[in-house]
């Protein structure tokens, strides 16, 4: 019997992806950094490094430290700023055939609104991912990400200003992620992505100094995968909008866990550092799995967890 190829495409609100594998913001630069190693047009989509209104220099080094099965970072949202992004980075991305999602970060609601307005007026951007959860900048996102009222306010402001689908990226550094997911759903988010990094730290015992200049940083990598998976499962049961899973995905099996737990798509982050070809291997691994289990599409898998 002839087998038809499984359909890997997914629909996230108005956004259609040829497969469910996205690159996580901050781990894939502006795409170009990986052009020599990955066929970018094979990705489900590219989420670029978080953008602020004006360029940001970021934190002083050391900014990263490796921990068992994980990576702690305190980059401090270094980025080129929205205008430089549009002038210098977007032309390359526009030439790709895959959706480009821009992660945005503001210091206050006004900045989020301005970013959303500005990015809605340029060609080549498929959606916005609203970063309300970056733990590194003192005045920045974390305030919005940990309070459901503030999270809803940001979402509403971006919703009103943007003519693009909006995904709100949630912080795991909260007591009840479900209430925040519900609040941003009500405020008009088209989807949520989770989780951002878990706040952590590391100490050099010889010098008794923190290993990061910023003292604390965000933990990513396989170390956080079980926590991410649990949160994705909880949120996916509680909201109607699509959930994008993220946190420690290294292999196709990891990605499949998230899909089965209820995510419609996944983001691959730290794995890009370890194995630049990780996204490609994950996409073909998912396809192979669907074939092996006689599943015709991703939809048949999403949320299929058997309890």
């Amino acid at each position: 019997m002839k087998k038809t190829k499984p359909d890997l495409s997914v629909q996230i609100g108005l956004l259609r992806l040829q497969n469910p594998v996205l690159t996580a913001s901050g781990t894939f630069g502006y795409g170009q950094e990986y052009a020599g190693l990955v066929d970018l047009n094979c990705l489900g989509g590219i989420i670029v490094k978080g953008l602020s209104l004006s360029p940001r220099p970021g934190n002083m080094p050391p900014r990263t430290v490796e921990t068992p099965c994980g990576l702690l970072n305190a980059i401090g949202l270094q980025n080129v700023g929205v205008e430089n992004f549009i002038a210098d980075k977007l032309p390359f991305l526009r030439n790709l055939s895959v959706p480009v999602i821009v992660n945005i970060l503001g210091q206050d609601i006004k900045e989020y609104r301005k970013l959303a307005e500005r990015l809605s007026n340029v060609e080549g951007i498929a959606a916005l991912e609203v970063n309300i959860s970056c733990p590194n900048v003192k005045k920045g996102g974390v305030v919005f990400g940990t309070d459901y009222k503030a999270a809803a306010r940001v979402t509403k402001a971006v919703r009103a200003a943007a003519e693009l689908p909006i995904i709100v990226k949630l912080s795991p550094n909260v007591t009840d992620i479900v209430s925040i997911a519900r609040a941003v759903q009500e405020a008009g988010a088209d989807a949520v992505s989770l989780i951002n990094t878990l706040t952590g730290m590391a100490v050099d015992v010889e010098t008794r100094r923190p290993k990061l200049h910023n003292v604390t940083g965000g933990l990513s990598g396989p170390a956080i995968k079980p926590v991410a998976l649990r949160m994705v499962w909880q949120v996916a049961r509680a909201v109607k909008i699509p959930v994008i899973g993220c946190g420690g995905i290294m292999t196709a099996a990891d990605a499949l866990e998230f899909l089965i737990a209820g995510a419609c798509a996944v983001q691959v982050g730290t794995a890009n550092f370890v194995n630049p070809r990780a996204t490609m291997e994950i996409i073909s691994g998912i396809e192979e799995y669907l074939g092996r289990h006689n599943l015709k599409d991703i939809k048949s898998l999403v949320g299929s967890l058997i309890l």
């Binding site: 901050g26 781990t27 894939f28 630069g29 950094e33 990986y34 020599g36 190693l37 490094k49 220099p57 970021g58 002083m60 080094p61 050391p62 900014r63 990263t64 430290v65 490796e66 068992p68 099965c69 994980g70 990576l71 970072n73 980059i75 270094q78 990598g221 396989p222 290294m250 730290t270 890009n272 550092f273 370890v274 194995n275 630049p276 070809r277």
Partner: protein, 263 residues
């Protein structure tokens, strides 16, 4: 002129031809990788996946130490922690996942005499530069100064001499060569021949070499180290502060910098 900016990088799985003890605590790894060997520039580096498990998670950066016949690449590495210890376990015939060549290497100024200044394992990238210089017939205008704590940590002296280069050594304990710091050794030399200086080694040494270069108004390039998560310019984790206050990526804008730009 040798310049290392835009060579095509790749991720490849290569065969290990040799991975052997070179000196106490130091190993030499030889891999067959023509695609990278052909395009690599001195001062560029590779990211090596040292194991198949998730701990250690990240790749480790190593300079390209030597290239033979545009086919094989040598890496000279000091065993200092988890990753480098795992690396020593890879046997001849084993497979290794590498990404490279990465970063911006040395920019060799063909017309001027060259002075290569290495501290300890810092000889790793400078050896490849020495190879390139001699292959271009400029060995006679080139001298290499190597410093180390003691004689067992002095690396590659014999090999460099065999290439016909003038080599001088200094050890902090005086067990070989001059006793003292390498900067003491080069001070009168730089005044006389006004060379271009290329240096790699511990930060205090680089700092001393750079200060000396500035004092005499000499051109000087230094290779910096930093903790690197990606090596590709994507994570922004490896930045170093420049004199003008800018934070730049060591893996992309470096690892070799003009000493005058570095803080």
């Amino acid at each position: 002129m040798v310049r290392g900016t835009k060579s095509k990088m790749d991720q490849v799985t290569v065969t290990v031809l040799e991975n052997r003890f070179a000196a106490p605590g130091v190993y030499r790894l030889r891999i067959e990788v023509p695609a990278i060997a052909r395009v690599a520039h001195p001062g560029q580096f590779l990211m090596l996946r040292v194991g198949q498990t998730l701990d250690p998670l990240l790749r480790r950066p190593f300079s390209i130490h030597a290239v033979h016949d545009s086919r094989t690449i040598d890496i000279l590495y000091r065993v200092i922690g988890k990753g480098t210890n795992l690396l020593t376990a890879i046997k001849k015939g084993g497979r290794l996942d590498i990404v490279g060549p990465l970063g911006r290497g040395f920019s060799w100024k063909e017309g001027s005499p060259s002075l290569l200044v290495a501290g300890g394992i810092g000889i790793a990238p400078l050896f490849f530069l020495a190879q390139t210089i001699t292959q271009n017939g400029a060995g006679a205008k080139t001298s290499v100064f190597i410093g180390a704590r003691n004689k067992t940590e002095l690396l590659c002296v014999k090999e460099l001499k065999a290439m016909g280069l003038q080599v001088e050594a200094a050890t902090e304990d005086g067990s070989r060569g001059k006793k003292g710091l390498i900067t003491d050794l080069i001070t009168n030399r730089v005044a006389a021949s006004r060379p271009v200086i290329y240096s790699c080694g511990p930060y205090p040494m680089l700092h001393a070499v750079a200060s000396l270069a500035m004092q005499y108004g000499l051109s000087c390039q230094v290779s910096l180290e930093s903790f690197m998560a990606c090596g590709l310019g994507a994570c922004l984790g490896c930045v170093a502060e420049m004199r003008n206050g800018d934070l730049v990526r060591v893996c992309k804008e470096g690892p070799v910098f003009d000493a005058y730009e570095v803080a």
